[in-house]
């Protein structure tokens, strides 16, 4: 072993010799992989039609984070619409309550002008 060439050749031969995993080791690794694998993308995926509006909606719902996220977004949207349309009297009563004006507590109307929501022009 006088020169690097012999050592290089020996190292190269070592590198060329495969060290195959045993069947038992492969089985152990795959069992771990199976146990830790996340479920297939979304439960909606199995139901999703390949084409059509329903498929697009399901894709969108999945993209937004699934059914719970869509329900939360819907509730937030409806609440925002209500706060924008409803008469502010109810909120005035609420602020008066918080500010200490107790005389209006008995008259507080949580939906004072809901009829405007279904009034036809």
């Amino acid at each position: 072993m006088e020169d690097d060439l012999e050592l290089d050749a020996l190292l190269a031969k070592a590198g060329a010799l495969p060290v195959p995993p045993s069947a038992a080791l492969t089985a152990r690794i795959l069992a771990d992989a199976d146990a830790l694998q996340p479920p297939a993308r979304g439960q909606l995926g199995a139901l999703r039609p390949r084409i059509g509006v329903l498929g697009w909606l399901l894709e969108l719902a999945e993209g937004l984070g699934g059914g719970r996220a869509v329900a939360g977004l819907s509730l937030a949207g409806v609440t925002g619409l209500f706060l924008g349309v409803a008469d502010p009297t109810a909120l005035q009563s609420l602020t008066a309550l918080i500010a200490g004006d107790m005389t209006t507590v008995g008259q507080m109307d949580l939906l004072p002008a809901t009829d405007i929501l279904w009034t036809e022009n």
Binding site: M1, E2, L11, G15, V19, P21, D32, Q37
Partner: protein, 202 residues
Amino acid sequence: MPRDTLDVVSDETLLVLYANGDPAAARALTTRLAPRVLGYATRLLTDRAEAEDVTQEAMLRLWKMAPQWRAGEAQISTWLYRVATNLCTDQKRARRRRPAIALDDAPEVAAQSGSAVSSLMQADRMTALHRALDQLPDRQRQAVVLRHIEGLANPEIAQIMDLGIEAVESLTARGKRALTAILAGRKADLGYDDDADEREAV
């Protein structure tokens, strides 16, 4: 995804497929990466059972990390070599705290074709090489194995070992010099004198 398609996609794509629930991706990644980790760990530890444990643990960490893998940040094989390096270091530290074990567990490698005598000579040389590697300091052994047995480039080794490229070059050079010195005393035993005689005769 069909199995023959999985054979040509990148490691990173396979990991994304695994994280998305593709059942075939784990097998394809295991087939591709486990032999490399096992070979590397076996050469560092010179103990097949310990190397198998390291391989299983490294792959386990890959499965756990799959959903958080950030695309383009590193090569999966580089990341895996790094994990395996750290696990082997831990294993060696634990071994030092245990009673010494016999160094009879040179890596089991697949049988190669050739005459019985040359196969035996080859096996002797490999055993000698692994025993010599085992005498190197840990960092030198890691650098030599990664560079000259695993065939990685210095920048990748630098990432795996968390070193600069010059430090890798220095470790590799010192490791090879030490290996040459260790093996020089066994040159005749390993048949290198016979090889030299044959070359001269030709």
